[in-house]
């Protein structure tokens, strides 16, 4: 997983709404709606902007938020990627 390149699923297209630090995203591809916390929302936006590895995602999320790059952030993003992958929102890019 650390070496994988992740990207949003080809069929996904997102619409966003934010209340405070809580986000709701609608996937036009599946018709499903999800609640995301701030970190997950930023991560999904970064992945929607273009494919990236965990390290690149960690770097981008760090730039977009006040979170410093760290082991803790990487672990949190691994969980986020697992969740998104389980929901078919993202997939590992094939070379």
């Amino acid at each position: 997983m650390p070496d994988a390149i992740w990207r949003t699923n080809h069929f996904c297209s997102f619409r966003w709404r934010r209340w405070g630090d809580e986000w709701v995203v609608f996937d036009e591809g599946s018709g499903d709606t999800y609640h995301l916390d701030g970190l997950s929302a930023v991560a999904l936006m970064c992945l929607a902007a273009g494919p990236c590895s965990l390290a690149e995602l960690s770097q981008q999320v760090s730039i977009e938020t006040d979170l410093a790059e760290s082991e803790e952030l990487s672990r949190a993003l691994v969980s986020v990627i697992d969740r998104f992958s389980g929901l078919d929102l993202i997939e590992a890019a094939t070379p």
Partner: protein, 303 residues
């Protein structure tokens, strides 16, 4: 011309001939049925609805079953455009079946509105949406509120207009079930009620007639003001607890009939509705307390 301009005999004749056409909120409905008590119920509960002779959005046929069965166990069958979505019902449940059938027609073929399974009432131009599973008391609450100054939009279907984002009234008789029938009879002794039907799939059912003024004002839409998830608990004191908007969006989406059909339009409509709304969970045990709680919220916001 409204339905009460017709005699009960004429209502029944039109029903038999398939010529009973009336306007109900944004919809025009044509009903055909030989069943006597559908005519009686329409004459009583739909008395204030405008008659129409034009194009109907829906045609509901509620016919009695034929053959030997009609003598032994008479049944009524609902058909809409050749489709028979429900199994036949006992004949004495024909009127509740009419109401459920009309709900079915609206929920399955209407896409100019986002449709939420929720009661909705209005006051001062703001709509109070009451979603909830069966048994949470949304119809009972709506019945209580419309007898204390709120205007009935619907006890079952909340319609959000796709073009304007406003809530569209669909005032129809309120379906009361089981213990709530006597509760509302005691709470609103001047209200008009239809006949009681026992042993339906939802238990005992009785419909309360909407106020004349609410039917007449069915063209007056409203902005969403509050989304409140009610829960009846015997003996509980009325308690409103703020609820997050993100969770409310997800719950409302689950309670929509055509959210996926409308796609991003549906998502935007729900989110926009919540931008102008306060959201609460609400537990209550007494209707007077519930009405007072909603009036406090309304007055506080107005202030």
């Amino acid at each position: 011309m409204i339905l009460s301009d017709l005699s009960e005999a004429e209502v029944k004749r039109r029903l038999r001939a398939g010529e009973m056409v009336f306007t109900c909120g944004p919809f025009t409905v044509r009903v055909a049925s030989p069943v006597q008590h559908i005519g009686e119920a329409l004459h009583l509960l739909y008395a204030d609805y405008p008659l129409s002779d034009g194009f109907a959005d829906f045609r509901l046929d509620l016919m009695t079953s034929g053959g030997v069965r009609r003598w032994l166990r008479p049944k009524v069958v609902f058909t809409a455009d050749g489709e028979q979505p429900f199994a036949p019902f006992p004949l004495d449940q024909a009127y509740p079946l009419f109401e459920w059938s009309l709900n079915w027609c609206i929920a399955t073929v209407t896409h100019q509105c986002l449709i939420i399974h929720a009661a909705v009432v209005e006051r001062d131009g703001r709509a109070l949406i009451l979603p909830g599973s069966p048994g949470t008391g949304k119809s009972t609450l709506a019945a209580a509120l419309v007898n204390r100054g709120w205007r009935l939009f619907s006890d079952e279907l909340t319609l959000i207009d796709v073009d304007t984002g406003r809530i569209v009234p669909l005032p129809r008789p309120i379906s009361l079930k089981n213990a709530s029938i006597d509760t509302i009879r005691a709470f609103a002794p001047n209200a008009v009620f239809g006949r009681i039907t026992h042993n339906t799939v939802k238990g005992t059912i009785c419909h309360m007639k909407p106020a004349t003024d609410h039917v007449r004002r069915a063209y007056e839409t409203a902005l969403t003001g509050w989304v409140v998830f009610p829960k009846y608990a015997a003996g509980a004191s009325a308690k409103l607890a703020p609820r997050s908007k993100h969770d409310t969006v997800l719950e409302l989406a689950r309670n929509c009939f055509n959210y996926r059909v409308l796609g991003r339009i549906g998502f935007d409509l729900l989110c926009d509705a919540l931008e102008t709304s306060e959201c609460f969970d609400f537990e209550y045990g007494k209707l007077d307390d519930a009405v007072a709680a909603f009036d406090r919220v309304r007055l506080k916001e107005a202030a």
